[in-house]
């Protein structure tokens, strides 16, 4: 391909056209906006007509009244002069009596028309100002601006319905990853908070009900670059509506929705595509993992916390003994089921007798120490303060700690404002539902490989997790480094093409520094994905093949070094084989006999193929 045009053509024809699966139904979102505009025009009719009539009458009237010209002869002023005079008089500019001083008769008429026109203007301007203040009009304008902004997006974005605590945490994580978002929330306060938030990218936000398909469509549900839908509102019904809309109109998109009700979760799962995040359910699973494998749990929470997170402390929950669970609502039920599944004995404290409560339940207000004593707290090993009231939870924790200082304390935090109180209490495990949701959604959607890793991780055992944490800390420090993936294909690793096919690329060699091959890059390979098979923390001796996908943890500078190895073939040859290939074509030709011929031929083959 010596002809540059042919090269150009080859590069562009290889690009696959973005396949945009057609949404089955197109939703017209502009009708609502335009109807408001029409309403405004309709409301402007009366003031405008009043203005025209007043103007015409005053102008014509002034020309009909006889005046006296500069030469003392009777003269009427012309229509044009009259229009000019009325224009500056009515708009209160007032240049004086032009073109010549008026007679008393003319002044009489002008006085009359001044009052008339001022009333006309006041009416017209007042109407315009009222319209501008009008709530529906402003909303229509905001919707229109938002729709235009979304339509102009030219990068993949996630549609986030609900910008509460969880949404805010997620938005920060995604913004740090450079992932674009579009936000809908029904509270305009939250949208204001979004606009005030310090994000790198400009995140379009709309204050509207997300359950309305029109609003979802305006937010880019049928946009070609929409990459996923996150239903994170506090209201389960709204989340269900968003999930349904997204699953029906764009079955190709991943949908993640939050719910705290198992029944709603089931209804969401009926639409196949959505993955449902139930914070209570997940917390129960986490607690079980924490009981069985504290290091795995530590690793999981660290990876889910997003870039820059500090390594959490490793807890040591008691694995034998009896737990006391206060509050037997949705959360309590999940926890009790998980604790029992882990083989632990559980005593339940419930504020009110319930129809379906099981025997052995202690009934009473758990924040009273007498009730806690009845549950025999002294012989228990752990306590879960899981009511939906933060004050109750905290007083429960204080009482429990007084009765039995060695208790393992688990609490549920409901309000973001109580965070400081729970921190002061130094509980051993804290559930903040919004944070669980944010971390979970982040892990699921930021890169699919991380989610794969997290799913397969518990099976590898506690010791493995502890070793991996050691490795991560040694290589990347105690703050969670950025996680990034690399696919060894022609796009991302053009320099390795031929060597990969020959099976000569070993993972350990790839992770050497391009500056000094003896130095190892401070990068930890977390996952190797080949033909759908996942290998967790692949060994250093692994031989890599084409189209392998790798998930790494490491700082940005290390990432750039690795990328230069993948892209520049002379660096690749040095890093992998300690060979010095000249970068320029002439030297390459001259030094040809010095190198292994098979490799250089191969290199040239790949290079020329790339054009």
């Amino acid at each position: 391909m010596s002809n540059p045009l042919l090269v150009f053509w080859a590069v562009f024809s290889r690009r696959e056209p973005r396949s945009r699966p057609p949404s089955r139904v197109h939703i017209e979102s502009s009708s609502q906006t335009s109807s408001t505009i029409f309403l405004v025009m309709r409301r402007m009719r009366a003031p405008l007509i009043t203005l025209i009539v007043i103007f015409s009458v005053s102008v014509v009237g002034l020309t009909l009244i006889p005046g006296i010209g500069p030469d003392g002869q009777p003269a009427r002023i012309s229509l044009f002069e009259s229009f000019y005079f009325m224009s500056y008089t009515a708009t209160t500019i007032g240049f004086g009596e032009l073109p010549w001083p008026f007679t008393p008769a003319q002044r009489l008429w002008v006085t009359f028309s001044i009052y008339l026109s001022v009333v006309g203007w006041a009416y017209a301007i007042g109407s315009v100002l009222t319209l501008l203040q009008d709530r529906s009009f402003r909303q229509a304008l905001a919707l229109r601006r938002f729709t235009r902004k979304v339509a102009r997006l030219r990068e993949p974005f996630f549609l986030m319905a609900g910008y509460g605590r969880a949404g805010e945490l997620l938005a920060k994580d995604f913004d740090a990853l450079g992932q674009q978002l579009v936000v809908i929330d029904d509270s305009s306060d939250r949208i204001d908070a979004l606009e005030l938030g310090s994000y790198h990218s400009d995140i379009p936000g709309l204050a509207a009900d997300a359950a309305n398909p029109h609003h979802l469509s305006a937010a880019g549900l049928d946009h070609a670059f929409c990459a996923g839908v996150l239903a994170l509102t506090n209201d389960d019904q709204t989340n269900l509506a968003v999930t349904m809309t997204a699953a029906l109109l764009r079955p190709d998109l991943p949908v993640v929705s939050r719910t705290i009700s198992a029944a709603i979760g089931e209804r969401m799962r009926a639409f196949e595509t959505p993955s449902v995040v139930n914070p209570f359910d997940r917390f129960g699973e986490h607690l079980r993992l924490a009981l069985n494998a504290p290091a795995s749990y530590q690793l999981l929470t660290w990876l889910e916390a997003g870039p820059g997170a500090e390594l959490p402390e490793r807890g040591h929950p008691p694995t034998h003994g009896r737990w006391v669970v206060c509050g037997y609502g949705r959360f309590g039920r999940e926890i009790v089921a998980d604790l029992r599944a882990a083989g632990l004995e559980v005593t339940i404290i419930e504020p009110a007798e319930q129809a379906d409560s099981e025997p052995g339940v202690v009934v009473g207000d758990a924040s009273e120490s007498a009730v806690l004593a009845r549950a025999d707290l002294a012989s228990a090993v752990g306590l879960v303060a899981g009511t939906d009231n933060d004050t109750t939870n905290i007083s429960m924790l204080v009482n429990a700690r007084r009765l039995n200082p060695r208790l393992f304390l688990t609490a549920r935090q409901n309000q973001p404002t109580s965070a400081a109180l729970f921190e002061a209490m130094r509980v051993d495990a804290l559930l903040v539902p919004t944070e669980v949701v944010a971390h979970e959604v982040y892990a699921q959607i930021s890169t699919p490989m991380l989610w794969r890793f997290i799913q397969e991780m518990p099976a590898r055992g506690d010791q493995w997790a502890a070793d991996l944490i050691q490795r991560l800390r040694y290589n990347c420090g105690s703050e969670l480094p950025a996680l990034w993936k690399i696919k060894l294909d022609r796009e991302q690793a053009p320099a390795l093409g031929g060597w990969l096919a020959e099976g000569r690329v070993v993972l350990d060699d790839l992770l050497r520094s391009p500056e000094d091959r003896e130095r190892r890059l401070r990068v930890v390979p977390l996952l190797l994905l080949r033909d759908g098979e996942a290998v967790l923390t692949p060994e250093g001796e692994t031989v890599l093949a084409s189209d392998d996908e790798l998930l790494f943890a490491g700082q940005g500078s290390e990432r750039r070094e690795l990328e230069s190895t993948l892209v520049i073939d002379s660096i690749g040859a040095y890093v992998l084989f300690d060979q010095h290939i000249p970068s320029s074509w002439v030297w390459r030709k001259l030094s040809r006999k010095n190198s292994t011929p098979s490799m250089l031929d191969d290199r040239e083959g790949t290079t020329s193929h790339r054009g």
């Binding site: 009719r45 025209i52 009539v53 015409s56 102008v59 229509l79 044009f80």
Partner: protein, 128 residues
């Protein structure tokens, strides 16, 4: 009977008739074209335009378009008159009159289209 329709029809027709009244006569004879009639035609035409605001139907859109054309032509005719009367040295010459009247002739055509639309709308209206 709908009062809104009466007012609407009244102004559309009045705009057309005033425009016709101004237009008729020798095209280059200033005495046969009264400037007050042009002024009235323009004012009524503006009112008719405003009345057509905010109609979402297709026919409403065409109505608005014809009115805007008429306004534009009448304003152009008015500017020609001001130019001839106040600015140019020769006053109201035959050629100035001709261009003013022909501009208003264009407006008349637009107004006639408006009237035709109005009549069509009325004829095709079926109750029940």
């Amino acid at each position: 009977m709908n009062l809104e329709k009466v007012i609407f029809g009244f102004f559309v027709l009045l705009a057309a008739t005033l425009n016709f009244g101004f237009f008729i006569g020798d095209i280059d004879n200033p005495d046969q074209h009264n400037i007050y009639e042009l002024f009235a035609a323009l004012a009524v035409s503006l009112i008719a335009t405003v009345l057509k605001f905010g109609d979402r139907t297709q026919i409403g859109a065409v109505h608005l378009a014809t009115s805007l054309v008429a306004d534009l032509q009448l304003i152009a005719a008015g500017v020609v008159w001001v130019w001839a009367k106040e600015i140019s040295a020769g006053g109201m010459t035959a050629s100035h009159t001709a261009s003013m009247v022909s501009l208003s002739g264009g407006a008349l055509l637009a107004n006639l289209v408006s009237v035709v639309l109005l009549v069509t709308e009325t004829v095709t209206f079926h109750r029940g």
